[in-house]
């Protein structure tokens, strides 16, 4: 049997997995009753992979590239000799898209009809680069406007200022799209070099979901691989500069056209490499802990809300990637300095008073329900499945990993991660002269 079937009792779901000869890993998740079919094709190549060592016909070489190449490549891969592959998806009624994160790049489409045609289009355009100097130049104008749009987005700006405060060297501190200046240095040759390094089947995976037969999907993948040959995978190592344990800067501030200040607070984790169940367990236990300290049923939320220090958009979470991790929390506030102080006090109080078993049980229940709710969305399932695959864990095990977390794990996170010396803040203030 070609398929390995991963069945999960807690979710009552199963996913079919195989690696076609010479191809990328393939996952098919049949979902009856849905009209939508959703397919994603991802490479483990994101904005943080801007320096690496590769093997160029026997010679090892170190490469450092301008920021924003992975994202630029994502835009340009839609081009082919005939123009733009968007048009052909449109012909089959599909809605194609792509996104670049810190750690991977994903190409996708959703459709209801012509699945075979659309899926073949996706497979073929991602596996067929076509870059020209002219089209690279044209894209610079478009991406410049994308960068400028984000520059006017206060949440985005506050978030990146915080990442810069947390990290001194790790490339997560750099904007995913790069800067207007860095993208002007991107050439056709750079795009080809990165393409052939990172868009190798060994570094890629496909996830397909909808009312589909796994064997039909596999046939289409095999067909797209016919006649293709891939040189050996030539990526030797991704180069992430050694990051200090300590934060880079305690506090950064900026002024923007906003009605109200914005506080972002982060706690930097100390691992330099972590994967698998351990990484996901760390995320879940940290988020349960944050929920217990800062959530709506916790001892702090109501007072902060009633004093106007936070609003409904106050949020928190833990980012768990293989090469870095951090807790982020914050939101809009009338008084960022006071909110900062109160959040630190809340953590101290929790350390003093300990964690309540009863609240822990409820938070686990809540998280279990939230995971199940999000499984209504095909996009959520597919995107998370591959993101976790690249972190070397089966996302369908999430409820089982959650079940095994104990209050001791949370205590450990409280005393080793939420440390004052490991935190930094960024504050966005309204402009002094007018809004």
């Amino acid at each position: 049997m070609r398929w390995q079937i991963k069945e999960n009792e807690s979710l009552k779901e199963k996913v079919f997995y195989t690696v076609p000869d010479g191809g990328p890993a393939l996952f098919v998740f049949p979902r009856q009753g849905y009209n939508k079919k959703y397919a994603i094709f991802s490479t483990r190549y994101g904005s943080i992979d801007h320096a690496f060592r590769w093997n160029d016909r026997g010679q090892e070489e170190e490469i450092v590239l301008p920021d924003g190449v992975a994202h630029f490549l994502e835009h340009k891969l839609f081009d082919d000799e005939e123009g733009n592959v968007f048009d052909r998806f449109a012909y089959y009624g599909a809605s194609p898209n792509a996104f670049t994160s810190f750690t991977h790049t994903t190409y996708l489409f959703s459709c209801t009809d012509f699945f075979a045609e659309n899926f073949s289009l996706l497979l073929n355009f991602v596996q067929t680069p076509y870059f020209s100097e002219e089209s690279v130049a044209k894209e610079q104008g478009i991406i410049q406007q994308e960068i400028r749009m984000y520059q006017d987005n206060p949440q985005w700006r506050g978030y990146f200022e915080l990442l810069k405060a947390l990290y001194a060297r790790h490339p997560v501190r750099n904007d995913i799209a790069g800067s207007v200046e860095s993208i002007s240095k991107i050439t056709k040759d750079i795009l080809y070099k990165c393409y052939y390094t990172f868009y190798h089947p060994r570094n890629m995976a496909i996830f397909v979901t909808g009312d589909l037969e796994p064997d039909d999907v596999l046939k289409l993948v095999e067909k797209s691989l016919t006649g293709r040959s891939f040189p050996p995978f030539n990526l030797v190592q991704r180069l992430y500069p050694e990051e200090e344990t300590a934060v880079n800067q305690r506090e950064v501030t900026l002024e923007l056209s906003v009605s109200q200040p914005l506080l972002n607070m982060g706690f930097k984790d100390t691992y330099s490499h972590l994967t698998g169940r351990e990484l996901l367990a760390r995320k879940l236990s940290t988020e349960l802990l944050l929920e217990m300290i800062f959530g709506q049923s916790g001892p702090n939320y109501t007072a902060l809300y009633e004093e106007g220090l936070i609003d409904e958009q106050f949020s928190f979470g833990f980012t768990a990637e293989c090469s870095y991790g951090h807790t982020l929390l914050g939101g809009r506030t009338e008084n960022p300095e006071k909110l900062h102080e109160r959040l630190l006090i809340a953590i101290d109080e929790t350390k003093k008073n300990g964690l309540a078993t009863e609240s822990f049980g409820r938070q686990k229940r809540k998280m279990r329900g939230e995971v199940l709710k999000s499984f209504n969305s095909l996009e959520f399932i597919a995107n998370n499945y591959l993101a976790h695959y690249f972190r070397e864990v089966d996302f369908f095990e999430i409820l089982d990993i959650l079940e095994n977390i104990s209050i001791k794990d949370l205590e450990k996170r409280l005393h080793t991660h939420l440390l004052e010396e490991q935190h930094a803040i960024s504050i966005v203030y309204p402009l002094k002269n007018g809004r």
């Binding site: 009552k12 009856q32 009753g33 849905y34 009209n35 939508k36 733009n84 968007f86 048009d87 449109a90 012909y91 089959y92 009624g93 599909a94 809605s95 959703s110 459709c111 209801t112 009809d113 044209k138 104008g141 478009i142 406007q145 994308e146 400028r148 749009m149 520059q151 006017d152 987005n153 056209s257 906003v258 009605s259 109200q260 959530g295 709506q296 049923s297 939320y301 109501t302 809300y305 009633e306 106007g308 609003d311 809009r332 009338e334 409820r362 938070q363 229940r365 809540k366 998280m367 279990r368 329900g369 939230e370 199940l372 709710k373 209504n376 969305s377 095909l378 402009l431 007018g434 809004r435």
Partner: protein, 431 residues
């Protein structure tokens, strides 16, 4: 598509069931409609905020949240949305299916919380709890002032406000800070009782439910002493031919200029020709293959985003884009050329077919999300086509011709050009 099983009670209340086993959750959504008015918009917007602060049985945010957590993190939301010239109070509750929590009967338990929030608020001296009202007034004022923080939406909203300054539709969905100030907890409660008694109320349930049982359960749960003399809301004003185009310009310290165009289509969702308008919008700017994206972004590289979209009940079309301030004239020219091209019938066979398939695709996936199902049928209720299924719309879309598209284009008129620009540049600008 899952078909709607509806019952209308004599008290202006509709119960609509969408039985399906495809989701892992059951969603209950309650919509209470009110006409959008400059004088009452802030009051209406304040209601969901105050109601979800506490009930008689769960007097604080914390009490309420603890109860929801016990039900596997049931999601309870309360907000106000704008549909045409109506403000709709929307309460929803989503619980996981009982097969993931055997023996719990989460739906019934969840419904009793939803009922509390809507029907049994925390009261004090014959009004809402004073502190809650005061705090929520402050939060809502900040929310209204916070519109400017999101420049993409700010530009679209400002264009609508300028364009419809003398109409109900020009009122922001949360009202204004000025109207918020004089609201008292007693006055607000009286206002709530009045609309809860007579305004149109609709309850939707999506999930694996037994039809007869759920009808009775919903009817018993949501018995708010409704009046048998229902309030009839005024119709939306759609027809408008502007005498001339208004050009509005606003300066803020921004990196990117936002160019927004507001059009009167003279057609709305309740009109038989609405699908032709939807098609028109698709050809012009609803998709990546549309004229706006192809010409403003792909050919001229002037923008990262450029789109057109409809407000279906009011019959307004907005075109939005983010550009360099200096490119104002060039971008505006290209946009106007595209609108003109559609009007003249310069639409290729490919543009027609791609748009047709794109629209059909969007209609077919409505049934794949409980929230979009509710949104779709709610639009049907507001637009006076309550039980129409997407299959019927798809059949009509199959038959739309280029002539149909050109025919609706003839009644579409540019009303307002709004430009949000930076404070420090000389080039460009509106005339």
């Amino acid at each position: 598509m899952i078909s709607l099983k509806s019952k209308r009670l004599p008290v202006n209340t509709g119960i609509h069931l969408l039985p399906t086993s495809k989701f892992k959750t059951t969603l209950v959504s309650v919509s209470l409609q009110q006409v959008l008015n400059r004088e009452s918009a802030a009051q209406t917007a304040l209601l969901p905020a105050v109601l979800k602060r506490g009930t008689k049985q769960y007097p604080t945010l914390r009490d309420l949240e603890i109860r929801l957590e016990e039900l596997y993190g049931a999601t309870l939301t309360a907000d106000v949305v704008k549909r045409g010239e109506r403000q709709i109070l929307t309460f929803s509750l989503e619980v996981i299916n009982d097969k993931f929590a055997p023996g719990e009967n989460l739906l019934q338990q969840g419904l009793s919380i939803l009922k509390e929030v809507i029907g049994t608020p925390l009261l004090e001296n014959g009004g809402f709890h004073k502190d809650y009202v005061r705090q929520e007034k402050e939060q809502l004022a900040r929310e209204i002032q916070g519109l400017v923080n999101d420049k993409v939406n700010y530009a679209l909203e400002r264009c609508v406000q300028e364009m419809c300054s003398g109409e109900r539709f020009g009122v922001y969905k949360y009202g204004s800070v000025e109207e918020l100030q004089p609201i008292t907890s007693g006055g607000l409660y009286d206002y709530y009782r009045e609309i809860l008694r007579g305004n149109p109320l609709d309850i939707f349930v999506v999930g694996e439910v037994d039809i007869e049982e759920t009808f009775s359960l919903i009817r018993e749960t949501f018995d708010f002493g409704r009046s048998s003399e229902p309030v009839k809301l005024p119709p939306v004003r759609v027809e408008c031919v502007p005498e001339r185009v208004s050009y509005e310009e606003e300066k803020l310290p921004v990196n990117q200029g936002k160019l927004t165009l507001g059009y009167r289509t003279n057609l709305s969702y309740s009109d038989g020709k609405y699908l032709d308008l939807l098609f028109y919008n698709g050809v012009l700017g609803g998709f990546p293959h549309s004229k706006l994206f192809q010409n403003v972004r792909e050919k001229a590289s002037l923008a990262y985003y450029v789109f057109s979209r409809l407000e279906k009940h009011k019959g307004i079309q907005l075109i939005g884009s983010g550009i360099e301030v200096k490119d104002y004239r060039q971008a505006l020219d290209i946009i106007l050329q595209q609108v003109d091209a559609v009007k003249k019938g310069q639409i290729s066979r490919e543009e027609m077919e791609n748009t047709r398939r794109g629209i059909i695709n969007r209609l077919k996936i409505i049934g794949d999300s409980p929230y979009s199902l509710v949104g779709y049928y709610l639009d049907g209720l507001i637009g006076g086509r309550p039980e129409e299924r997407t299959e019927e719309l798809i059949q009509k879309v199959e038959r739309i011709t280029k002539d149909d598209v050109v025919a609706v284009a003839e009644n579409i008129h540019l009303d307002t050009v709004y430009f949000l620009r930076s404070t420090d540049e000389e080039e460009g600008g509106a005339n």
